[in-house]
Amino acid sequence: MNIVVLVKQVPDTEGDRKLNPADNTLDREAVDPVINYIDEFAIEEGLRLKEAHGGEVTILTVGPERATESIRKALSMGADKAVHVTDAALHGSDAIQTATIIAKALGTIEWDVAVAGSEATDSRMSVVPALVAEALGAPQLSQARKVTVDGSKVTIERVTDTGYAVVEGQTPAVISVVEKINDPRYPSFKGIMAAKSKPIQTLSLADLGVDAGECGLANAWTQVESFENAPPRAAGQVVKDDGDGGTKIVEYLASKKLV
């Protein structure tokens, strides 16, 4: 089975993340980058599919040069090889542009399933897997807490507000996973050493046959006009409980007409 796992490198959530005022894009220097948290679960699911059905796991990342650090980490978990789409012209691309690039890159790989995390911790849009499915006309098997493959049929349990839906599609299919799906393995020392020599193919926009005019900040379909560091919420009151803490809260809620 040919499994592609979509991996994004993002700033560490625990860091003091910032936008760059020069062009209102993500400031990638401000905070150390890591693999997007839920992508670790996507990698794990890809590896489990390989263990169950045979085949290969290819990591696909669209990102700046430094994203190779995250790619190596994914390879150290057990993925076989990687494709890294990187190009200065991609800077500032929005979700739709990014998904279009991912779809084009998938066109250069043999794949039966493309497994993504459901959401990136920096943008938190959780739309790229759906957009990749749209771009490719592939089944959108997103928000999966369980994945089963039977030949060319892929079945997932898709998380809903009230429980889950059982959804089925034919390969090639786009899957996105939620945290509940599995427990990602830790890379072994052997895996870390082996990752150093696993192949990473680098692709530029020209390699994909994509015009620079279709991506990047100047051509994005949305723009950040301005931003500001959010002021701390108008100074909140903090009181010490003197045996009347609960009562004080009710008084506050009543003053706000919340009870």
């Binding site: 739709i96 938190r124 507000d161 009230t162 429980g163 006009e225 931003f227 009151q237 903090v238």
Partner: protein, 317 residues
């Protein structure tokens, strides 16, 4: 005046409050026009009229729910072609964001998600990085598609004509790639749904053990609230994963969020930082949650929370 399409969310034959908020917000952008995909548009008409829908586009839905997201995006694109609106508004839910993005792709418009406000000239305010940064963003291409967080706008009645327009539409074969075989309802009980509840009470590690979670549930019931939990509580196995509020759990945006025994790590804050009012109870005065809270009590939740529950219950008479 150009129309602004609002995707209607309904439950059990009733229009959801989040839709009423969108109809209200739509007024500053153009003429609100509701879109009902599937279901019974006629039954919803009176409420949609009351909250300002000038038109109600009804798309017959036999196959809309039978396949994941793609048919609804396609149906909305058909309405967009007919209505040529200034913008399309949807409530921010996991599924609606996917519909919004696929719609935007189809119609060549920019998509903005999780707006907490939309100005008259289509600029969306978004809260990012766990609340640390506030952004003003705009679609610069095509018809903007914007998802708006629940409880961002106060719904205001403004009666309008709600002229019913039936839209002829057939789901394409391409949109049937992901088929829904079964829908399993797991959530039990009568409490509000966490994802769009007006009031949420969440319990954290401070509650100590599974048996103590009833303190949270009692407070929630007194407030008519949904119940949430921090990551620590879910990881400990005290409650279901579906109750987790946070970056990798449910993101909530209620009118009131009560955090009990929750330290307020960024991973949790990312899931609730756009709540209108935040109240916190924690025995640690240094807990980061107090930086976010509008009102906080430093104290023992085992006395403060039950006292709060009792006081609220007394008030309700």
């Amino acid at each position: 005046m150009t129309e602004v399409l609002v995707l209607v969310d309904s439950l059990g034959g009733t229009v959801k409050k989040s839709t009423l908020e969108l109809l209200t917000a739509a007024r500053s952008l153009g003429e609100p026009a509701a879109v009902v995909l599937g279901g019974d548009a006629a039954a919803l008409n009176a409420t949609l009229a009351e909250y300002g829908a000038v038109k109600v586009y009804a798309v017959d839905g036999a196959e809309l729910d039978g396949y994941v997201v793609a048919p609804k995006a396609e149906a909305l694109a058909a309405v967009v072609a007919q209505a040529t609106p200034a913008a399309v508004l949807l409530s921010s839910s996991a599924e609606n964001k996917e519909i919004a993005a696929r719609l935007a792709f189809k119609i060549g418009g920019g998509v903005l998600t999780d707006a907490v406000g939309v100005s008259a000239d289509g600029v969306a305010t978004q809260s990012i990085f766990g609340g640390a940064v506030s952004v003003q963003a705009k679609a610069v291409k095509g018809v903007p598609v914007i998802t708006v967080r629940p409880n961002s706008v106060a719904p205001e009645a403004a009666p309008a004509a709600a002229e019913q327009v039936t839209v002829a539409f057939t789901v394409s074969e391409a949109a049937k790639a992901a088929k829904v075989i079964d829908n399993v309802v797991e959530a039990k009980g009568s409490r509000p749904q966490l994802s769009d509840a007006s009031v949420v009470v969440s319990g954290g590690r401070g509650i100590g053990k599974a048996e103590n979670f009833s303190i949270i549930e009692n407070l929630a019931d007194a407030l008519g609230a949904a119940v949430g939990a921090s990551r620590a509580v879910v990881d400990a196995g005290w409650v279901e994963h579906t109750m987790q509020v946070g970056q990798t759990g449910v993101t909530v945006s209620p009118q009131l969020y009560v955090a009990v025994g929750i330290s307020g790590a960024i991973q949790h804050r990312a899931g609730m930082q756009t709540a209108k009012t935040i109240v916190a109870i924690n025995k640690d005065a240094e807990a980061p949650i107090f930086e976010l809270a509008d009102f906080g009590v430093v104290g023992d939740l085992f006395t403060v929370a039950p006292q709060l529950t009792e006081e609220i219950t007394k008030r309700k008479g």
